[in-house]
């Protein structure tokens, strides 16, 4: 079982989100990411060509994925790391629980686990599994820490607390950090960051196991790569005795030079930086004479549906480098926030991934809740045709007859007429004349006999008295009569 999906409730969740002033304020505040991305990209004229290279290198890697994974495994083992393969979420959790259990130093075999932000760990529901086994889990990324305190899932893949406003964070910190002076004040965001730094710093040193994700795995060298801005990923992986990096299969890339291409795309697309503050390449365990670094290093390679995507119509989605540009630039995501999507992955990339993971029935709203405006594809650093993939999901939904009956019926009627021009024009003329009459010459309708979804929020411009085709035909007839005379 992966994290419990609530995507089928997208529509009501989205409507609630639109009515939530605090969420709306937080979403407004997070608008800067798209602006910063645009500025960073304007700085390097070669960016479009680098995007092509990123797409091509990912395509090449995916087309040879088994070979690159084996090459990575060989090098990682050589460097002293342990490599585990997990077919699904359950296997991954079992592997990790076993390692954690073995290294627990607390009473009754309870471990203290520090985590770097990892979407894969969200995908496999790792925290709740660790907690169910009695282990103490601490999320160290500030955003993840905030939502852990709130008991919420992330609402954005790189800014997990994008939906939380500063007053909310303040309340969460007061409730959680009861050992600190209750009279303290938080004049600005910096004071909150400072408190989190202080509280978390101590906890970095007591952990038995550090668990992180990986932004890339390098087949050439057997290295894992982690990219952060806070430095929490590094502290989580070098201070405890054991480091577990959990990564999905498609994270592997061929060489360090290929990593340059990905790095040139990643931070610019994500936050508008040319490089994130910390990009760390690591391999194996602590070496002879080293004073820090984990004594054991484990890679957990997770399939969990990737091999099916590789085989089918959604292979292109596996190019995703998890930058978040698609959601930062998506007008739907910007309106409703990440939680509306009801599962781990949100925004346009989530609208493709979620139905692939949790099923088309559960996730059916997500690919439908798009105007196909194409902005996500326009900004995707590896040129994933996100609207096209959402359309394929709509196709699958239609073929499996999962779309609402009324919509299917309406479409059937439309199709019947669209193939019969004469009838189409006759019927549409009648219909439009009726609507025109309903408008009473006001040019617009406040309510429609159908389509309340439109008139709840806006007027409906009335149709013309006569259709273009009818008028064209009449004018043409008049003209040819004139010509004949």
């Amino acid at each position: 079982m992966t994290a419990e999906p609530k995507s089928s409730q997208f529509k009501s969740a989205a409507s609630e989100a639109l009515q939530n002033p605090r969420l709306q304020a937080a979403m407004k505040a997070s608008g800067g990411l798209a602006v910063r991305r645009a500025a960073a990209i304007a700085e390097i004229p070669e960016f479009e060509a680098i995007r092509d290279a990123g797409r091509d290198l990912k395509n090449h890697t995916l087309a040879n994925l088994d070979a690159y994974l084996l090459a990575f495994e060989e090098k990682a083992l050589e460097s002293g790391a342990k490599v585990h393969w997990a077919a699904d979420a359950e296997e991954a959790r079992a592997i990790i629980l076993k390692i954690v259990g073995r290294h627990a130093k607390g009473p009754e075999g309870k471990a203290r686990v520090n985590k770097g932000k990892s979407m894969i760990s969200e995908e496999i529901g790792l925290n709740s599994a660790l907690e169910a086994a009695g282990h103490h889990v601490l999320e160290t990324d500030l955003g993840e820490y905030i939502i852990q305190l709130r008991g919420e899932p992330p609402s954005h893949i790189i800014a997990p607390a994008a939906h939380v406003s500063k007053p909310d964070v303040e309340a969460d910190f007061r409730a959680a950090h009861t050992h600190l002076d209750p009279e303290r004040t938080f004049p600005d965001a910096a004071s909150l960051v400072h408190e989190a730094r202080h509280v978390l710093r101590e906890q970095y040193f007591g952990a038995d196991v550090g668990i992180t994700g990986a932004n890339m795995l390098i087949a050439e060298t057997g290295q894992g790569v982690i990219v952060t801005n806070e430095g929490n990923g590094d502290l989580s992986q070098i201070l405890p005795d054991v480091h577990i990096a959990v990564a999905s299969l498609e994270k592997v890339i061929p060489t360090l030079d290929d990593a340059s291409t990905i790095l040139r795309l990643l931070a610019r697309s994500a936050t508008g930086q040319s490089l994130s503050s910390y990009t760390t390449f690591y391999k194996g365990a602590r070496r002879q004479g080293d004073l820090d670094g984990p004594k054991e290093m484990h890679f957990v390679l997770l399939d969990n549906g990737r091999s099916e995507m590789l085989a089918g119509e959604f292979r292109e989605m596996l190019r995703c480098i998890r930058c978040g540009a698609c959601m930062n630039n998506c007008p739907v995501y910007r309106a409703v926030g990440g939680h509306s999507y009801g599962w781990v992955y949100v925004g346009p990339m989530g609208s493709v991934l979620t139905p692939n993971f949790v099923g088309i029935k559960e996730g059916r709203h997500l690919p439908n809740a798009s105007t196909f405006c194409g902005r996500c594809q326009e900004v995707c650093p590896v040129r994933i045709p996100l609207p096209g993939l959402m359309r394929k999901l709509r196709e699958a939904e239609f073929e499996q007859k999962l779309s609402p009956q009324t919509a299917r019926y309406g479409l059937g009627v439309w199709r019947w007429f669209a193939k019969r021009p004469a009838l189409y024009h006759r019927m549409s003329s009648i219909g439009m004349r009726a609507l025109n009459w309903l408008s009473g010459g006001h040019g617009r309708l406040k309510r429609l006999p159908f389509g309340g979804g439109w008139t709840a929020h806006r007027d409906f411009p009335a149709p013309a008295k006569r259709t273009f085709m009818a008028e064209w035909k009449a004018r043409k007839a008049a003209k040819s009569q004139g010509d004949d005379q």
């Binding site: 989205a14 405006c373 359309r391 199709r415 040019g443 979804g453 411009p461």
Partner: protein, 270 residues
């Protein structure tokens, strides 16, 4: 090239253009169709609007009904094959015919070449005028401030961006004032706006806020769907901004009231 049964014989050097009015123009805004005819004729084309046209098939295609979309696409290919060019006063429907038909019919070896041939000669109206016919300006007049919304499909699938602005700059008396986020979707999205009305409402509200912030008299766009959405919201909000298809301004055909305005009497301009 086979002459179309309903097409008039082409004069020498005057390309025969099949106007695909699109269903929304057909039903809601015939004036846009006639404006397109006017602009095309002025650009030296012989224009015909073949009777066999209905809809481009986008509603089916966007609903995941590939088979339905393919049936409609085949009909439209047949209808428009006889023309030298096919022109649509819409970036959205234009993209369906130009970009999607080949995808819709990708597994149909008989029809795929025909879809490709149609794609090659299909154009959105404004890009056709500027890029194929070399039109650099129009002979029109509009006294007022306008703002231009970049409709998504036209912008991102067909590269419609500078062309309408170039032609608008030749309209006598017209001042263009760009709005913020002109390239952000207005929230229409075909059936999206009725399937997800609350989200659509937020998107169109953002759009009308940006339109209003320009203090323009008129918002223009190249797609009737977006225009009806924006005009409907502007009207519901009681904002004084009017909405028109860019072709109406370029053709100087502003006698017809703006979109959603009362049909009798002439338009009142502030």
């Amino acid at each position: 090239m086979q002459p179309a049964p309903s097409a008039e014989p082409a004069a020498p050097n005057r390309p025969k253009v099949g106007l695909f009015a699109t269903c929304l123009v057909d039903l809601f805004r015939p004036n846009v169709g006639f404006a397109a005819v006017e602009l095309l004729e002025a650009a030296g084309c012989d224009v015909d609007a073949p009777e066999g046209q209905t809809c481009c098939g986008q509603p089916a295609w966007n609903s995941g009904d590939r088979k339905g979309a393919a049936e409609v696409a085949r009909r439209m290919i047949e209808v428009f094959e006889p023309y030298d060019y096919v022109v649509l006063p819409s970036g959205s429907c234009g993209a369906t015919v130009k970009k999607d038909y080949v995808e819709i019919l990708r597994d149909d070896s008989d029809w795929l070449p025909r879809a490709q041939a149609l794609s090659d000669k299909t154009f959105e109206l404004i890009t056709f005028l500027t890029e194929i016919r070399g039109v650099e300006g129009v002979n029109a007049q509009f006294d007022g401030v306008v703002t231009y919304h970049d409709s998504c499909s036209g912008l991102r699938s067909l590269g419609v961006k500078d062309q309408p602005r170039q032609l608008l700059s030749s309209v006598d008396g017209l001042r263009l004032r760009e709005m913020e986020d002109a390239e952000v979707c207005c929230g229409f999205g075909g059936t999206f706006c009725v399937k997800y009305p609350d989200i659509s409402n937020r998107m169109v509200s953002n759009k009308t806020d940006n339109i209003a912030a320009t203090s323009a008299d008129l918002v223009l766009a190249g797609d009737l769907g977006c225009l009806m959405n924006m005009a409907g919201k502007l009207s519901r909000q009681g904002r004084p901004v009017k909405a028109r298809h860019v072709a109406e301004i370029l053709a100087g055909m502003t006698d017809e009231p703006a979109i959603g305005e009362p049909q009798r009497g002439s338009e009142k301009r502030k």
